[in-house]
């Protein structure tokens, strides 16, 4: 087991992997990423309504929403006092643009029984729409609740990290649109270095900043880090992100072993019962 410190900022991303750095401290919650994504990928409007969840009327990533901006109000303290002197950059009204994490080891991909979900040459995780048959196993297999089945075409959908754009050397739609560069696209290792520097700089200014998506936080439990990672200023669960998720397929082998063991026991019992059962004497 590695100690915390060696895991911080560490990712097992392959060389040449591309991803996102989403820096919440620069995010103004404008939702340009949501719309730019829908525009490029031509995703339809969701079934919508007023949620009253601050300014989040999207709620969740889904089959037709591949970027989702979460809004968490932390304006007043428990006594209801509002602050006036604020910490540098985003504070007191937390906004995070959530997206598929493109895990280094992806639960959805390992679960997919058809091979529809693949790892591309950019080390991103993509659902091949010509293959997916909508079995839906990737949906609960994702520790972050990213893929979802679409009622429109019955297939699973999620962020492709604009695979088609990357193929033509174009930047993904969301990071390109982001007005404040809160979403940055690039080689994962370069982004991770940038993130570490940024976090250090923020901490020097007294901001409780942290990276979400290294092997210490978010990219844990065999996931090996997230190619789309984040800089947060609050515990991840505040943003509806699991702190230490686990790669579900880690449990496959142990589970098969216990099952086999049970099979052995029951098998022996069954054999015995047919071998040893004696004739029943009447009277």
């Amino acid at each position: 087991m590695n100690s915390e410190s060696t895991l911080v900022g560490r990712t097992r991303a392959r060389p040449g992997a591309f991803g996102f750095l989403t820096d919440t401290t620069l995010c103004i919650g404008c939702k340009a990423c949501e719309v730019a994504c829908k525009q490029w990928n031509q995703l339809p409007m969701d079934d919508f309504g007023f949620t009253g969840m601050s300014y989040d009327n999207t709620g969740d990533l889904g089959a037709t929403t591949w970027r989702h901006v979460a809004f968490i109000e932390r304006v007043a303290d428990r006594q209801g006092r509002r602050p006036t002197r604020l910490q540098p950059f985003q504070s007191h009204w937390l906004m995070l643009s959530d997206v598929c994490k493109h895990c280094v080891n992806a639960g959805c991909m390992e679960a997919c029984p058809t091979g529809a979900i693949i790892r591309t040459e950019f080390d991103t995780v993509v659902i091949q729409q010509d293959v997916c048959n909508g079995c839906g196993y990737c949906v609960p297999a994702c520790p972050f609740g990213v893929p979802a089945l679409s009622p429109l075409d019955g297939k699973a959908h999620k962020c492709t990290l604009c695979y088609d754009r990357l193929k033509d050397g174009l930047e993904p739609a969301c990071s390109k649109a982001c007005p404040t560069d809160a979403i940055q696209f690039g080689p994962v290792h370069a982004l991770m270095d940038r993130a570490k520097a940024r976090v250090a700089e923020l901490q020097a200014q007294g901001v409780d900043a942290r990276i979400y998506g290294d092997e210490a936080l978010g990219g844990t439990g065999g996931i090996g880090g997230l190619n789309a990672f984040f800089i947060l200023t609050a515990p991840p669960e505040v943003y509806n992100l699991p702190a230490a998720p686990e790669l579900p397929q880690r449990r496959v082998l142990p589970a098969f072993l216990t099952t086999a063991l049970a099979a052995l026991v029951l098998g022996v019992a069954t054999l015995l019962s047919f071998w040893r059962t004696k004739e029943v004497r009447h009277g």
Binding site: K31, G49, G52, G80, W93, P179, T180
Partner: protein, 846 residues
């Protein structure tokens, strides 16, 4: 716009968005920049990354506040107290009085040293009004506000102009009547204590803001102010803005990189539609629309009354006569005053709100609406719809079937059965409009930058550009009036209206219009290089002198230039005037013409070349040396010394004291909003603006001050996800889903009192009407303690209406018709209301 214009010379933003990145401190007040100008806000974030301090003064904690270092919650409508207190704090601060920079800047670049007429009386002396107030007419006679000095008439002019004034000055700035001392006395009572009492801002917080601004202004540092309509939309909006200009002049922040005042505007070319105004009181280039008064009877009269002897406006005849040539061509001759008589003369106030009442009162019978949605965006929306229903005919041009087009069958009162379509006589035409990507043309952005947009495709179906519509309409009308010798017939006949057309829809060639706007020599049609080439003898034509030269003599449209760089980007688009990016940038150098500091250098005097050089186009005669002194009797710009950055002003200086140009006083004074729960702590006898135009009519009732039936302050605003009255966003699925319904933001404190839960339906009510919305209970809104009592604030986005995908109660149902006397802009940022849990009858809001 007059707010900046009266003190600096031009109404436009003095700086650019990009320049914000060089600020050391950015004060965002009267604006929710991150939400309404997200892309502009990236320069604020850049500045923050470079260590700048970001201060947001706003009643609500918004997405802008979230990125700020200081959030200062302030009572809506008390901004001027806050700004006035800043002025007072600065004037009495140790730094301001000890650092020579401030004295040097103020002494040379402002009118601090001029002596004000001894007849002038301040509001402090007259319990809330300035001298010259006529309580019957609710108007000011500004004669007592003038400079003390010699008045000398000018002669030997081709066109007459106003006499020239030689003001007396006191370079020591000690004379009790010098502008600086007058200002000092005027603001003496604007103390941190008053701020706490009137704005609800804790004393120490105010002091921190003041110290931060002061510490970040000076020779080597600059502070910028960003404002938007939350300053404009008050009965004293112009004065709030002008108070900011006054403050920035005192701090030496005007005309310098990272300084200045950035007006953040809401529509693609709202700046352009003011420069080339679809406004009743202006002609292109901020020339005054002639009025039906003897002083404007003839062209000469007009100049004698409007044309100053000094400053750039001395050239007014060149601009106006070139405009007349552009409009009336050969029909405009020296003999007939260049067809001046064809220019209609205005006889009153025909601004937006008055138009609504004139429609309702049957004076206006036909209306064109192009890309606007008054049924939602008009204050007292019910009255606005009644006005529409009283028209003979209505032409609406838009991309979606907006409320203004559908009111006759879809309005709340129609749905509720109160009114039946069969009772509405209006003949309605809806014409589908084209969108920017479907037409050639230019927009002028918030910092005066004119940019060309290419036509990518032809508009679909019957959709056409406004250019197409207006051109076709003009042609048909010219035919209809052919041979008509009546004055009406002669007027339209005189108009030049022959433009080449292109494309399948006979769209007219926009370049031809652009050339006319830019100006050309009448003899051979060659484009002029700039307004310096315009003449007052009819030999040149120019549709808008401040855009003059936008088409080069070679025929290139400079708004099509697209070579940016990381400084002024002089080759990206064209910024009026004459492609100057930071206005009054002469002030970025000291009186001797040297940069104030290496860090803040922008333009400076180069003794070798004997001209002004630098990163920007000098907003100053390029070869006028810093030590130039005007000869006696000099006129126009010749009359300005080499140290006068404000070339549009009479004396070339920024005005701390405004002798002319403002209708509600030479100095900013705090008056309460027309509807307010509290009284005016400064002038109990004169709580509200003495000259605010009001509409006293039964269909536009007002709330008394402190009316117990309407105890809460309401402020209206916009959201990132929507655009103005929603015509371009509430019908667009990707935007509609992000903010799908109208809502009201209120504090948990108030919600607890009223038992309101997030998601509940609530009804907000004023004497004008009521609007239904969903409740959002949030700590981002907070009650303020004003003069010892708690004042609750309610916030309501005004985007929503009954049409489109994202619907909601119309906030403007609640607002009243009442406005600022200078800009004639309404007051929607602060009025009073009440709110209750529940709904209006079903169906009123989908």
């Amino acid at each position: 716009m007059p707010g900046l214009g009266a003190r600096l010379g031009r109404g436009g933003a003095t700086t650019t968005l990009a320049s914000l990145a060089e600020s050391d401190c950015i004060v965002i007040m009267g604006s929710n920049m991150a939400e309404n100008h997200p892309v502009g806000f990236r320069f604020v974030v850049k500045a923050r990354e470079r260590g700048a301090r970001i201060i947001h003064v706003d009643p609500r904690f918004s997405r802008t506040s979230a990125l700020a270092d200081l959030h200062v919650p302030i009572r809506p409508g008390s901004d001027l107290v806050f700004l006035g207190a800043l002025v007072n704090y600065v004037l009495n601060s140790e730094r301001w009085n000890s650092d020579p920079f401030f004295r040097e800047y103020v002494l040379h670049y402002t009118n601090a040293s001029v002596l004000v007429s001894p007849d002038f009386r301040d509001t402090e002396d007259l319990a809330g009004v300035f001298s010259g107030y006529d309580p019957q007419q609710h108007r000011y006679d500004p004669s007592s506000w003038q400079y003390a000095g010699r008045v000398q008439p000018l002669d030997g002019e081709r066109w007459p102009c106003r006499p020239r004034i030689e003001p007396e000055r006191d370079p020591t700035l000690q004379h009790p009547n010098c502008a600086l001392q007058v200002v000092k006395r005027h603001f003496a009572r604007y103390t941190p204590e008053l701020v706490e009492q009137a704005c609800g801002v804790p004393r120490d917080l105010f002091v921190e803001v003041a110290d931060t601004i002061l510490a970040n202004s000076g020779r080597d540092r600059t502070t910028a102010f960003c404002y938007a309509v939350a300053w404009t939309q008050h009965t004293i909006g112009t004065q709030i803005i002008s108070c900011c200009a006054l403050l920035q002049l005192l701090l030496g922040n005007i005309g310098r990189p990272g300084g200045g005042i950035l007006a953040l505007r809401g529509h693609a070319t709202i700046q352009g539609s003011t420069d080339i105004p679809t406004l009743f009181d202006l002609l292109p280039g901020y020339l005054k629309m002639p009025q039906a008064i003897p002083q404007h009877a003839t062209l000469a009269d007009y100049f004698a009354h409007e044309r100053p002897a000094t400053g750039l406006w001395y050239d007014m005849p060149k601009f106006l006569i070139s405009l007349l040539k552009a409009w009336y061509g050969d029909a405009a001759t020296p003999e007939n005053d260049f067809a001046y008589e064809f220019l209609p003369k205005i006889g009153g106030d025909y601004s937006f709100q008055s138009i609504l009442t004139m429609m309702k009162d049957g004076i206006i019978k036909g209306l064109f609406v192009m890309g606007m949605n008054p049924a939602v965006g008009g204050q007292n929306a019910r009255l606005a719809r009644q006005a529409l229903a009283n028209l003979d005919w209505l032409v609406v041009r838009d991309v979606h079937e907006i409320e203004t087009a559908s009111f006759w069958y879809d309005a709340p009162e129609v749905r509720s059965g109160e009114v039946r379509p069969q009772d509405i006589k209006t003949e309605v035409f809806f014409l589908p409009a084209a969108i920017a990507a479907e037409k050639d043309g230019t927009f002028t952005n918030t910092h005066r930058l004119v940019q060309w947009h290419d036509k990518a495709v032809d508009p679909p179906g019957d959709a056409r550009s406004e250019a197409h519509f207006v051109f076709q309409l003009g042609q048909r009308l010219k035919e209809l009036y052919a041979g008509d010798e009546s004055p009406a017939g002669r007027q339209i006949a005189a108009l030049t209206w022959d433009y080449p057309t292109v494309g399948p829809h006979q769209e007219l060639d926009l370049m031809a219009v652009a050339r006319e706007i830019s100006g050309y020599r009448v003899s051979d049609g060659r484009p002029v290089a700039g307004f310096q080439e315009l003449a007052d003898d009819g030999s040149t034509a120019c549709g808008c002198w401040i855009y003059s030269g936008i088409v080069t003599p070679e025929g290139e449209h400079r708004a099509k230039r697209r070579r940016g760089d990381d400084r002024a980007s002089l080759d990206w688009g064209f910024a009026w005037p004459a492609n100057r990016r930071i206005l009054y940038n002469r002030a970025s150098a000291d009186p001797q013409g040297r940069p104030w500091s290496e860090r803040k250098k922008w333009i400076w005097w180069d003794p070798e070349q004997q001209r002004w050089v630098g990163y920007d186009v000098p907003d100053f005669p390029a070869s006028k040396p810093p030590d130039y002194q005007p000869p006696p009797g000099a006129r126009g710009l010749e009359a300005h010394p080499g140290t006068a950055p404000f070339i549009m002003m009479l004396d070339g200086q920024g005005w701390l004291f405004v002798p002319r140009g403002l209708l509600d006083g030479p100095l900013p004074t705090h008056y309460e909003p027309w509807e307010t729960p509290v009284t005016n702590p400064l002038y109990p006898a004169q709580p509200r603006s003495p000259v605010a135009p009001v509409f006293l009519r039964p269909d536009n009732p007002y709330h008394e001050i402190g009316d117990p039936r309407y105890p809460y302050v309401i402020t209206t605003y916009r959201l990132t996800e929507h655009h103005t009255a929603g015509g371009m966003s509430r019908w667009v699925p990707w935007l509609a889903e992000l903010q799908p319904a109208g809502f009201v933001e209120l504090s948990p404190e108030l919600a607890r009192e009223l038992g309101i839960t997030t998601g509940d339906w609530v009804v907000v009510e004023t004497a004008r009407g009521c609007a239904e919305a969903r409740a959002l209970v949030t700590e981002r809104v907070q009650p303020l303690v004003i003069a010892g009592r708690t004042v609750h604030v309610i916030g309501m986005p005004w985007h929503f209406g009954f049409g489109g995908l994202a619907t909601g109660g119309i906030a403007n149902e609640l607002a009243a018709l009442v406005k600022d006397p200078n800009s004639l802009i309404h007051e929607a940022k602060s009025f009073t209301c009440t709110i209750r849990k529940g709904r209006l009858q079903e169906g009123v809001v989908r």
